[in-house]
């Protein structure tokens, strides 16, 4: 009775939420058979056999229709997947990440220094690969004084850093005048170019620097810039150091910037407080890290370098 008694149970329960399952149960009862795990039909009593006989033909037809539908569904599903499989295995989209560049041709870094003997500027054509090549690209870089239209062709030089990193700097030893405008222009062989106009600032007085120690701990000093610097571009401590190890000795330059520590007193005046021991400690750490624990160093000289920017200098950089 197990098959039918289950149907009876399901039949009598009802209830909305069970409806889908109940209908499934009713369907099996009406069909007069259930399928066990071995895929055999079985009957539970002679009465039920009679009931089955009365609906046998219809039931078998319904069963066949049901099986046919199942097979049809499966066939459609498998055919669909097989078609997709065949289609997609031969389908691979190409991936070209680069967008055509018609906006940026060069990047230019550096500064023009009216007090320097030689002007150096980094000029890099925008490239399609990660690293710069170890040759000088085809380009021409000129520096034109706008007032006189005098144009200087700058000489390129390949700079090779450690680990195979390359860069191209251009240079000239032509005199640069204060309060003049210059145009730096870089041109590719196809005529595409980038340019930048530089306005040289006024000449400013040599800043006064107090090397006087301020009382207290830690040791500290003041740099006093007493006017004429409209836009403070940089304040650097340049410390020349001789480093010695067991096997060799070398002279090296360590540069520390104090620009971001400067207090603007208005009127082109600034004060900068600096801590020499902190700089020496940093030099010692770098020396030890680079040259090993037996390295010693000796300070040869300490320079201060102060730069004033032109009108386009962004003080909030």
């Amino acid at each position: 009775m197990k098959g039918w008694s289950e149907c009876d149970k399901v039949d009598s329960s009802g209830g909305k939420r069970q409806r889908a399952k109940v209908k499934s149960g009713k369907f099996m009862c009406a069909m007069g058979f259930v399928v066990d795990s071995s895929d055999r039909f079985f009957f539970d009593s002679s009465e039920e056999k009679k009931a089955f006989t009365s609906v046998e033909r219809k039931s078998v037809i319904n069963m066949l229709i049901k099986r046919f539908k199942t097979i049809l569904h499966l066939s459609i599903f498998f055919t669909f997947h097989f078609s997709l499989f065949t289609l997609l295995t031969s389908c691979n989209q190409t991936f070209e990440p680069f967008q055509e560049n018609d906006r940026f041709y060069f990047t230019v870094y550096g500064f023009i220094d009216a007090n320097a003997d030689t002007q150096w500027v980094r000029v890099s054509p925008v490239r399609g690969e990660l690293e710069a090549k170890d040759n000088i690209p085809e380009m021409q870089v000129t520096l034109t004084e706008l007032e006189t239209a005098k144009t200087i062709i700058m000489t390129p030089k390949l700079v090779q850093f450690r680990q195979g990193f390359n860069a191209v700097n251009v240079w000239t030893d032509e005199e640069i005048k204060t309060e003049r405008q210059y145009r730096l222009r870089a041109v590719l062989p196809d005529g595409n170019e980038s340019s930048s106009v530089i306005t040289m600032p006024n000449e400013f007085p040599t800043p006064r620097i107090f090397i006087q120690r301020v009382p207290g701990v830690p040791t500290r000093y003041f740099i006093w810039i007493d006017g004429g610097v409209d836009k403070l571009a940089d304040v650097q401590s340049r410390i020349y150091v001789r480093i010695r190890t067991q096997f060799w000795e070398d002279e090296q330059l360590f540069v520390f910037s104090h620009r971001n520590d400067a207090d603007d007193l208005s009127g082109g005046k600034y004060t900068i407080e600096f801590f020499p021991n902190a700089l020496l400690s940093s030099i010692e750490k770098q020396s030890l890290a680079l040259q090993g624990p037996d390295a010693t160093f000796e300070v040869l000289r300490h320079q201060f370098y102060i730069a004033s920017g032109g009108p386009e200098w962004d003080e909030n950089i």
Binding site: K2, G3, E6, K9, V10, S12, S13, G14, G15, K16, R17, Q18, R19, A20, K21, K23, G25, V34, V35, D36, S37, T70, H73, L74, F77, H81, L84, F85, L88, T89, N92, Q93, F95, P97, F98, Q99, N101, R103, F104, T107, Y109, G110, W120, R122, S124, V126, R127, E129, L130, F161, R162, A167, N169, A233, D234, Q236, V255, S257, N260, I317
Partner: protein
């Protein structure tokens, strides 16, 4: 006296007699002794609870049934206003036929009260080496986007992973996935059921703005001890359960450990430097109307998203919690209390001197109460949370100090379910929260369902509400593979992250096993913190605020005919962020840019089929997703930094930079993949012990699917290639 006061009600828990676990989906039917056509019914919820109200005093026949189990029948007499508790367990009927059992476990997925109810049987259908894992299953749902087969990042309807809430027995788990994307810390054999809300969820869930996955874990078997061991090239798993005090208390244990890092050396796939492990232990105490449990979960993952990079991501979850569900005798009140602690930490690279780490620890105490007034159901509760957030982000997000902060958070909610005219369910609710950082937040929500034909087989649903999130998980969205998350209070705004959801859906169930549903959604998100658009080939960036708009449609078609199950799901999604940043002005002349974030997969189609073929079970899953956005490079150069000092072009090398187009204007190629598996069990002892063999393959036709494009190194990183596997599982009873 009102009519409602005279009506009676009955409630209780229905469990499996053999192990004490809830019989989710069982039917409780009352038939009037006076009029047999008069019936009242209810279905058992995922925690085993049921309730029938509005019972006219008198005599009723009770029947509790579940296919595959012997029914429980009784005759009950209700007096006016009586609130009766009746909990019972059903025994599995050993004489039941296999096909009926199959019919029980292969029921189509239903959406109830906006939640998609997920059963273990559904989870097991998805072919994967994890052999029935929530992580693999969730990827088949429309509206759910995963970025690849490693990292475990899940984006739901345009939301980011840190905006999803995943609860296990009421405790939050911050990173609910393992680093190998089809494994989660919650194996399928631990899951009793799960409620998944892709949006429009109840005010009961507060603290996240995108989605909720509320997972109920199984209790261990209170009568018998059993266990299993499984091994595959991807991972190994040990599982065991048994009684502590037979009939009243139990334990359950599971542990997983990955092997793929080792096996991939001799396995025919690229070496996979990925490792994960997890351990889980739960103890349960089960009485008629009370069940309390305590659990502890630990997970650890490590590995490289880019196999050629040495940068390693590591994360760890630790969750410990207790939960008590009680139905005080004849009170008609269901009480749920959770006390838990969740800790998550993750790090990227080496912390000192360059590297990033972040951790968050959350202590949570909450209580949910459910009561009835007539047919109106009231749910309300309160919670208190204390969070500790630590982050050390030197170099990654400039402008954020390394810090440790704490956040106290408390609140409550109330929601009513009001049936009307036997066709409507109206669910107004509101959540109220207070935090020391953000003050008071109010989250009004409304959900509504309409059954035009008075049948649950056709239902229209609607929801809308405001969702707030007090903590922010910052990820580097420039890199879609970025798994590292820094948890912090909203760093740029005095406001919590906020979203407004609106959803509208239709579900129709046919009696021949066919079900289809469609749901449209619209979301507005605000106060999102995202890294600024930046061109440097290093992770140094500030954060910016963004607003987001998302809309889309999820479609689902299921055919469930006895031994055959088929699912087609399609999700259309459109996500747009809008952000104002200084960089945009410099490069494009406009400070505000709109862009599709890198998880904006516009189209996604999933097909899943499982079939019982005699003693074999076959599963096929095919998925296709349209390409995701990426930022196209224009070229590369080297940048010299003027921010600290004037550079010296002859001494300073510079930093490589990528010059890029407007953000996320490119689209990566579409991805598609076919996964298959065949499974068979061999019984090896009379006690039912068996060996289960599963053979399958990931990416059967070896499609070259992109994982992401690294614009900083101009490299394409691909997903898993063709990977066959065999899983052997020994189950001992």
């Amino acid at each position: 006296m009102s009519l409602h006061a005279q009506q009676a009600s009955i409630q209780g828990f229905i469990t499996d007699h053999s192990n004490g676990n809830p019989l989710f989906g069982a039917n409780v039917i009352l038939t009037s002794a006076d009029d047999e056509t008069r019936r009242l019914g209810s279905a058992v919820e995922s925690n085993g609870f049921y309730r029938i109200g509005n019972i006219t005093p008198g005599t009723w026949f009770l029947q509790i049934s579940f296919i595959g189990y012997s029914a429980h029948e009784d005759t009950l007499t209700f007096s006016p206003g009586e609130s009766r508790s009746l909990s019972t367990s059903l025994s599995e009927d050993a004489t039941m036929l296999d096909e009926l059992v199959v019919a029980r476990i292969t029921g189509a997925t239903r959406t109830i009260d906006g939640a998609q109810r997920i059963t273990p049987a559904e989870i097991r259908r998805v072919p994967s080496p994890a052999s029935g894992d929530l992580a693999a299953y969730i990827q088949t749902l429309p509206g759910v986007v995963t970025t690849g087969d490693r990292g475990g990042q899940v984006f739901i309807r345009g939301g980011s992973p840190s905006e999803n809430m995943v609860l296990i027995d009421g405790a939050l788990i911050y990173q609910p996935a393992h680093i190998v994307g089809f494994f989660s810390p919650i194996p399928g054999n631990l899951i009793s059921g799960a409620d998944f809300y892709a949006g429009g969820f109840s005010p009961k869930y507060t603290g996240r703005i995108s989605s909720v996955m509320d997972v109920q874990l199984r209790h261990g078997n209170i009568y018998e001890t059993s266990g299993s061991v499984s091994v595959s090239p991807f991972a190994g798993e040990v599982f065991a359960e048994g009684p502590i005090d037979r009939g009243t208390s139990s334990w359950i244990f599971s542990a997983r450990n990955s092997f793929i890092d080792q096996t991939s050396k001799w396995y025919p796939i690229e070496r996979q430097p990925l490792h994960f492990q997890s351990q889980f232990l739960k103890g349960s105490f089960i009485q008629n109307d009370t069940r309390c449990s305590g659990m502890i979960l630990h997970t650890y993952d490590s590995g490289q998203m880019d196999f050629e990079s040495e940068e390693e991501i590591r994360w760890r979850n630790f969750v410990v919690g207790t939960r008590c569900v009680a139905l005080p005798a004849d009170s008609g009140t269901l009480l749920t209390t959770n006390i838990n602690l969740s800790r998550f930490s993750n790090s990227l690279g080496n912390v000192d001197p360059f590297g990033f780490n972040s951790s968050v620890m959350r202590f949570n105490l909450d209580m949910d109460i459910r009561q009835y007034a007539g047919e109106v159901r009231f749910e309300y509760g309160m919670y208190t949370r204390l969070k500790f957030l630590n982050y050390q982000l030197s170099e990654k997000f400039v402008g954020i100090d390394n810090a440790s902060t704490s956040q106290y958070y408390a609140g409550g909610y109330v929601e009513a379910t009001i049936p009307a005219a036997n066709r409507f369910n109206i669910q107004p609710g509101v959540g109220l929260n207070y935090s020391g950082v953000f003050g008071v937040g109010i989250e009004p929500r409304l959900r509504l369902s309409w059954r035009p034909f008075r049948s649950e087989n056709q239902e229209f649903s609607l929801s809308s509400g405001i969702y707030l999130q007090p903590v922010t998980g910052i990820s580097d969205i420039r890199d879609v593979s970025s798994v590292f998350v820094a948890w912090m209070n909203s760093p740029l705004s005095d406001s919590q992250k906020r979203s407004i959801h609106t959803t509208a859906g239709w579900q129709q169930i046919f009696t021949n096993g066919l079900t289809w549903s469609v749901e449209a959604y619209y979301k507005e998100m605000s106060f999102l913190s995202i890294p600024v658009w930046n061109t440097l080939a290093e992770f140094t960036t500030d954060l910016a605020l963004a607003d987001g708009t998302v809309y889309g449609t999820d479609f689902r078609l299921e055919l469930n005919r006895g031994l055959f199950y088929g699912l087609v799901s399609y999700g259309y999604n459109w996500t747009m962020y809008e952000s104002a940043q200084d960089h945009f002005s410099i490069w494009f002349g406009e400070p505000v840019q709109s862009f599709h974030p890198p998880h904006d997969r516009r189209h996604q189609l999933n097909m899943l089929m499982s079939l019982e073929l005699g003693k074999y079970t076959a599963g096929i899953r095919w998925q296709i997703g349209s390409g995701m956005p990426f930022t196209r490079p224009l070229g590369f150069d080297d940048v010299l930094d003027f921010r600290q000092r004037l550079p010296d072009v002859n001494r300073d090398r510079g930093t490589r930079r990528v010059i890029v187009d407007r953000p996320y204007k490119g689209r990566m190629p579409d991805i598609h993949r076919l996964d298959v598996s065949v499974e068979r069990s061999f019984i090896i002892s009379q006690s039912g012990s068996n060996i289960n063999l599963q053979a399958g393959a990931i990416n059967l036709y070896d499609q070259r699917n992109i994982f992401y494009y690294d614009v900083f190194t101009n490299r394409r990183i691909d997903q898993l290639t063709f990977a066959p596997y065999v899983t052997v599982k020994l189950e001992v009873k």
